[in-house]
Symmetry: C2
Subunit: 277 residues, 2 copies
């Protein structure tokens, strides 16, 4: 899905909601455990109940890998199932390695003929620099979502250090250096909602790039604050919610309750989008 | 494998060689492609030919994930096969995410009952800070190998920036902050051989930790330089070689040639270890 199609999807659905499929077998409704593939069955029902309200889905790889081969089967089925809907798909994998190895990771997420996976985008960690990120950008029509400022407490450890030579913070250096590696057509950035006031700095450096914003909901971030500082004329935001939506209920009504929570967020987003579209 | 056992293995084998199993189906001998699991068959023969010369094996996850479910099967078989030998096993995965997600990644590599994998150690990226690393340290007997200074060109982009507040570089901040998160009994650091002169700074901050050193061989680093600046009284080094060993030949004699290359490195390491053991 390219930038124009993504923006059109946001306009049509009046939503910039991304649903995080952090599917944990110990947290899903227990009646699903009798299914042949409980994780996929959970995802399928969540997707069926929410795909008109969300523009993107983001399975986090950790929750699939921890179940080994079975987990990869669930992930593969999920991404194949998502293909029938008009949604942007993000592998939240936070990968990154030396150049020839990053190429293999890019193939993992973008080259279905070998891996079975065919995501639109993958999250990438910036620590190893340019040659660890660029291989992902060589796949036409695919996106890198680079970690800039994350939503967790540990973001304070290294991301907020000030670079002596430039006087700007490490996460701002990530934005400044990397914005030239790709373009707003194939790069986005992760910026946590828990640090919404820093979106002003982020927008100074990357005025046109889409931002993937985790941390609204369970982690304490506010949608209004994120929109206040991060919204652009094209929206420019994908706001993720995982646990608040997918675990809204742990009973047989989980999909219905997930839809209610997604609808609540979509409505809030619609009120924000009225200002620009 | 704990620290004492690792040091004993280094003494017994007179080697601190780690062999990187970056097994790429487009680079392995073509006669193996008729096997049911070519990647595992390649690894098995490499392991059989070298396990008396190497103290550690390091499959890089990217080379398995890119083949999807089949790749995870090859990886699972490889780690299960390695269990019979007296070797330290490293999942070179460069993972890292918010706390509850890092716990899932730790289960992936350390909890065989669900994932099928049972590595001794996993490489972790530091960008997301303390709470992204600590969940891996909660598994008794398991190790985190944290990226500090990597061997690639992109290491210059962020790792060498100087923190204005402390006057030291970002990779030194990683060492300084993280050394208290675990201990030399459950943490190691990745320090690239291509920047061997910086090992003096590294050793000032982490005098006792083992270092996993990539970049000798194909990437241009020197074993003598690494030992000169990085060797401790317990050795304190695992030097990795991947392509130089596993692709020493692409013909039917690939395992034999891999052994010759591993033996050449082991001999050079033996001459270094004589100084301390």
């Amino acid at each position: 899905m390219d930038r124009t199609a993504l923006i059109n999807s946001i306009k049509t659905k009046r939503s910039f909601l991304c649903i995080g499929l952090d599917t944990d077998l110990s947290k899903i409704p227990q009646h699903l455990l009798k299914e042949e593939d409980p994780a996929f069955e959970f995802n399928r029902q969540i997707i069926d109940a929410t795909h008109d309200l969300a523009v993107a889905y983001k399975p986090n790889l950790a929750f699939y890998e921890c179940n080994g081969i079975k987990g990869w089967q669930s992930l593969t089925r999920t991404i194949q199932y998502l293909k029938q809907f008009d949604v942007f798909t993000i592998a939240d994998a936070k990968r990154g390695d030396i150049g020839n190895t990053s190429t293999q990771y890019a193939k993992t997420f973008f080259n279905p003929s070998d891996s079975g996976l065919d995501f639109d985008a993958v999250t990438v960690a910036p620590y190893m620099g340019e040659d660890s990120v660029k291989p992902f950008l060589e796949f036409p029509g695919k996106w890198v979502i680079l970690l800039a400022l994350t939503s967790n407490k540990g973001a304070n450890d290294f991301q907020l250090m000030v670079n002596k030579a430039s006087g700007i913070k490490v996460f701002e250096e990530v934005l400044l250096k990397s914005r030239g590696w790709g373009s707003p057509d194939n790069m986005m950035y992760v910026v946590g909602a828990t640090k919404a006031e820093m979106l002003t700095e982020v927008r100074r450096l990357v005025p046109d790039h889409f931002l993937l914003v985790p941390g609204v909901g369970a982690q304490g971030g506010s949608l209004q604050e994120v929109a206040k500082f991060g919204l652009t004329k094209d929206c420019g935001l994908l706001v993720n919610s995982s646990r608040n939506i997918i675990y809204a209920s742990k009973e047989i009504d989980f999909a219905e309750k997930a839809r209610e929570e997604a609808a609540r967020m979509q409505l809030e987003m619609e009120e924000i989008l009225i200002k620009i579209f």
